[in-house]
Amino acid sequence: MATVERRWIGKDVPRLEDPKLLAGRATYTDDVRLPGMLHAAVLRSPHPHARITRIDTSQARALPGVFAVITGEDARELTNPLPAFCAEPVVQYALAVDKVRFVGEAVAAVAAVDRYTAEDAAALIEVEYEPLPVVTDPFEAMKPGAAKLHETLPGNLAFEKTLSFGDVTGDFAAADHVIRRTLRWHRASAQPLETAGAVCRFDPIGQRMDVWSNTNMINFVGWLIANTLKVPASKLNIHPMYVGGSFGSKHVLGKVIGIAGMLAKRSGRAVKFMEDRVDNLLASENLGCDRYYDAELAVSKDGIFTSIRVRVVDDYGAYFQFGHGTHGNALAQVTGPYRIPSFEYTVQCVLTNKCQQGVFRGAGSDAGNFCLERLVDAAARELAIDHVEIRRRNFIQPDRFPFKTPCGNIYDSGDYPAVLDKALDMAGYAELRRMQAEARKQGRYIGIGLATAHQRSVYGPTEFWFWYDSPGLTSVPESVGLGLGPTGEFTVTMFSPFWGNSPETVVAQTVAEEFGIHPYQVTVTHEDSQHGLPGAGPGGSRMTVMLTGAVVGASRKLKDKLARIAAHHFEAAPADITFADGRAMVRGVPDKSMTYGDLGLKAYWFKLDLPPGMESGLEARHTYDHPYLTMPSADRKDLGAFYPMMAHGAHIPVVEVEPATGRVRFLRYIAVHDVGTIVNPKSLRGQITGGITQGIGMALYEESAYDQQGQPLTGSFMDYLLPTALEVPAFEIGHVETPSPFTEYGVKGGGEGGRMIAPAAIAAAVEDALAPFGVRVDEVPLTPERIVNLVEAARR
């Protein structure tokens, strides 16, 4: 691969976003203040499953300072059900209608002069419930006679399907070994430090609804939100906000927008509803998947993997917001980095009396990686092959790309052996093993984990519907507007908000690369949805690919016009105009050059200097579509390319486990990632270290737990434990760059890999540490209690 000299792509440019964030001057949703604005509070259900028989809001309404009180009856009148990305008739409103299905479900809401008064009023609302039988276990929920959550469904099994690719039966029949594991991945929660919220203002005369919210898909879900709020899509305007972290949890936010929108309609005032942390922990859209795997790997006597069979039961909670999208997601990389010719995937999506799943970084492929890597380690153990060696034997080799997986998804590029080698080298693997052996002699339990796993990037929307017979959406575009003003200054307009990472910096680096200017000469702004261009927003690690693609496309258009203006001026051919060092110049004629300032001034205010027929101004807009998306076959034997920018990583955590207390301490953590061409190394490093930290949470601490009666056990940060600076080590991060052939500059996404790979690696490390006890790790998070129980069980 020839190396390409680039001036700005790949450079550690301190971020454009940072000065205002550091100075406390960015506007987050809770910072919005409008004249006459009211504040909302929500009353939530204490019951996991109950019929609402009576609500008396009279005392709340009578409290001075209260402007509106709404219940499920208002939701039925003022709104349509919340957007859902599934075909099954699972109906959800922003406030519970007729019955509640989980503890924390919103039952009523109040708008008042301040939050204190709103909460006082919420406490004065009287609700009578008729408790119904509760079902919290998905296997119980599937049994005949189980308490049924939704009258619109035949039972609690919302969806069930098997997809099979290649000769699974034959490959299993021919296998020398079948490795089987039942695995458990508990639900965790994204928990950005900024909760979800919305400010809504409704003009009843013009029927116009303005929304300021930290939803991060303002141009993707706007028309769906308009339908929920019963306003014409053309009269709904969503204003982009700075977002204090999302990690997948702020894609739609129909609940908070719906509640604030209804209260705005009822009160005639602007209304803000910010979730508090309890709202967010109990009832937001931030829960990850909750899976029970029964998985088998077919292996030859030489340790070559030949097929996989996965049966997964997923506990969705009370609603089906994103449908089986997280399983479509997992199919993108079911076979991981390994050459496996066939697989079968059976999913059962079950509804129970818990808060619904939303999306959390990894989006189903996180659990998928855990499942596959646990099988690989199990195979290594059962066949007595080293865990490094068994991976080497099965890797797809670097000369096999683009690689078509059994289900039809494409892997664009990769060099998995190089990533593994680099990680082993950084770790000093052989020395680590010696150190481990020494420590064991001293009675210390040190474990070395390894996971070599994928991070798919740039999702295709077919993953939401290829499970069904009829087709669905096929667009996930992203757009930018690029302008060069009359003073020679570049501006970029984005149509997706800042969601917590570095979109402005990526955009500015790309413009700088294309035009030979400094990134800080680019001003980036965010446009509201009413002035929006197509944009699906952040999700599925797509934005670095999509934004560079959109900016390069817009740059081509802008350069085309600039070249025509400069060529006209110099009496040269447009094809001979080049751009560098802040100027346009005639190739090979150094004294024939114009600054961007000269060109800008001409383009805006010197019409008679322009080529005949050219309109004034310098602005280009570009919509970049998914770079490689193909249609699934009608028989679904080939799902097409839908998640083809395949990033990869190898993680080697070194842990010390105390068997008596279950404490896990990190001695080292090595992670090597390949996300194609790197745009901004420091920004990427933050994504990886932050992602691994969330993966540490998933592996050891974080669980959104319920008891058997459906009562949540993790309703505060005292119970739902996020890792602090003392639970995580100084990470050692390395990179390999195999550019994607399908994207501008060869960029792939890197936003999720840390969290998607770490839990598998840490589970392996803990298992390795406890190998003297013969402990087998099949479940995360590995809380101290679970570790102690594993050791106790193994000792018996």
């Binding site: 550091l22 506007t27 270290t689 505060s716």
Partner: protein, 163 residues
């Protein structure tokens, strides 16, 4: 309506005479009454530390403190760190080492770091981690924050030696 009581607060060097309800949290007065929205609210139960400010020079969780309890106090918020268009050296260090991503926990982290470096000009990595472990960050994995604090310590020490 609930009765209000008069209090005085000196916030970032500016004296305010306010009438507040006894139950109002300090963070709500800072944000809602004074309009200083750089201090953020993360959990409102004293765990995440996002709302950390300095009260009479000591870090405090402003979601756990009533405004009336701060009567007469000197308070420093993130808005008081920068001077005009110049970021504080600590903020510059956070930018260079990328000690932030979404920026939401950042004001609280800056306050912790400010207090740490005032009391300990050359903290070890472990001391930095212990100090910032008071607060939660969901984006960075803390590595950039640790490096930023270390970088700021070096810079501030150099500046102090030069002056």
């Amino acid at each position: 309506m609930p009765r209000t009581v008069p209090i005085g607060l000196n916030v970032n060097g500016v004296r305010h005479e306010l009438n507040v309800e006894p139950r109002w949290l300090l963070v709500d007065v800072i944000r809602e009454v004074l309009g200083l929205t750089g201090t953020h609210i993360g959990c409102e139960h004293g765990v995440c530390g996002t709302c950390t400010v300095l009260v009479n020079g000591e870090t405090a969780r402003s979601c756990l403190m009533l405004a009336v309890g701060a009567d007469g106090a000197e308070i420093l918020t993130v808005e008081g760190l920068s001077r005009g268009d110049r970021l504080h050296p600590l903020q510059e260090a956070f930018r260079e080492a990328q000690g932030l991503q979404c920026g939401f926990c950042t004001p609280g982290m800056l306050m912790l770091a400010h207090e740490l470096l005032r009391d300990n000009a050359a903290p070890s990595e472990q001391e930095i981690r212990e100090a910032i472990s008071a607060n939660l960050c969901r984006c960075t994995g803390y590595q950039g924050i640790v490096e930023a604090v270390r970088l700021a310590a070096t810079r501030l020490a150099t500046a102090a030696a030069a002056s």
